[in-house]
Amino acid sequence: MGTTVARQPAIERDHALALLREMLRIRRFEEKAAELYSDGKIRGFLHLYIGEEAIAVGTLQALTPDDAIVATYREHGHALARGIPAGAVMAEMYGKATGCSRGRGGSMHLFDVGRRFYGGYAIVGGGLPIAVGLALADKLQGRPRVTACFFGDGAVAEGEFHESLNLAALWKLPVLFLCENNRYAMGTELERHQSQPDLYLKAESYRVPAEQVDGMDVLAVEAATRRVADAVRRGEGPCFLELLTYRFRAHSMYDPELYRTKEEVARWRERDPITTFERRLREGGLLTDASVATLEREVTAELAAAVAEAEAGPWEPVADLLKDVQAATQAPAPSA
């Protein structure tokens, strides 16, 4: 297919506000998470999605509750946009038993099987085969569902990317591959880890339809996702979206960011998916200072409640350490 010029569909106000709200929820949540990390409330690795919110929000808007999500260790945004309560996500990052993974996974391993959110994978590329298998199960059971699989530009270099794309294409599986190309794999710039930096061209080499989309434009992301998700759901095989974006913050809280300039970051910040969208809505007369203030107030309130819930949550008792290493009970006998 190739690059599509970011279209400018007529914006419907409530929907636009919903998109803005979702992006803001993620932004404020992660800004708070960074604070809590400094306070030692959150530990381990913390990978912020700040700057990339339009992707999680735009793509997940276009998917249904029946669809499955497979994400990476940089998945707070996807979890929140999927509807996992902020309190459950924050509690997970605290490591509390009330967390969405009972506190065992932390920031990198958010799960919510009820919402078909199949997690948070911290081995780069490790989620792709899982997504292929979820889609295979749907196809074998004749369920018109999409499995949306998020991964970064760095993951594209891993062998599992290659094997997974071939398998999904060969078997025409309903996988929507969503490549969050933020131009860096940790400290290694795209051109220094990919011989072909136009990643959607790689996808096409598997005969997978692929497009490049402006990942800083939530409407463009949503529109592209709707377009291809329907094809995937109809059983036409996998599709691939390369979502061009940028990570505003360090790779993780350990990263001294020696590999890029403040200027480069500043240039990209001008394309902040939230502020640009907000400006656009104001220009379109869809947003007023008052409505922004309300939005911010509501988001802040939700966040405060989430933190309170995380603080109040209990720790899993040490006695339960070995619980669920394997299932307590055996599976039911074959149905036939």
Binding site: A68, G99, C100, S101, R102, G103, R104, G105, H109, F111, D112, V113, Y118, G119, Y121, I123, G126, L128, P129, I130, A131, V132, G133, L134, A135, L136, A137, D138, L140, Q141, G159, E160, E163, S164, N166, L167, L170, W171, K323, D324, V325, Q326, A327, T329, Q330, A331, A333, P334, S335, A336
Partner: protein
Amino acid sequence: MVKTTYREAVRGALREALQSDPRVFLMGEDVGRYGGAYACSHGLLEEFGPDRVRDTPLSESAFLGAGIGAALGGMRPIVEVMTVNFSLLCLDQVVNNAATLRHMSGGQLGIPLVVRMATGAGRQLAAQHSHSLEGWYAHIPGIRVLAPATVPDARGMLLAALREPDPVFIFEHAALYPLEGELDPSGGVADITQAAVRRPGTQVSVIAYGGSVGKALDAAQELAALGIDVEVVDLRTLRPLDDATVLASVRRTRRAVVVDEAWRSGSLAAEVSARIMEGAFYDLDAPVARVCSAEVPIPYPKHLEDAALPQVAGIVRAVQGLIGGARG
């Protein structure tokens, strides 16, 4: 009871599983048109069709991971990794996903996945095709590891594995496929929790699994002729190990030899020895001995391969050494 082979027992179990449970499907390299590298799925593609018997590309990591995903999606996949030698290419999916997701998700995810692979040496396939890595799999919390050594276990353990809610890895020693034995075709699932005493004895316990069980029994025969009464224990389930059966045997015989086709250092035999140390030290009349493979890439020529692998003669020597070496 019918007379059949280990290979046919596996094939029969696959067939029965595909017939009895619509969620079951078989996936792997050349399991379909080719009929399986070891002919364990011969005819199944024709009988069950390409949706349920799926030839995969050479992509161990992707199709093992796809098995995990399909299990999460409600299927009961049986993934065949052609041999353990190639399973190194998907070990990340095993350790970090298959074995981990249930616990790490706080119990939300279950992965009823069965993975079968051929293992072992002895057919002059040289260094890259002669590994015995069951011990590595037995190190991984969250999975169950089986090593059927008999015709009934080849069938019954596979059927039992399909009842498990968590990943089960079945290691079929390639040298066993032609093995003949009696099978009750209507026999159900096998117990997959206990080791089995394959031959009762009083003086020394020889503990083995998979392809080494037959060698242990042959050694016991020879030793019987020399007046040494050996008990042979087949571990059967490598994870979790059945300490009770092993320790009970050793407490009776007060001496043990552990046979393992893996390289000696870091072998599963080391774990068995350590557990006997911990559980039956005061019952031992002599130190537990190990008969393992030499620590060398397995060479191609028969005489060198034979020299590198555990053999009946070596087991006999080890047992005699214990009898000789015993105190009082």
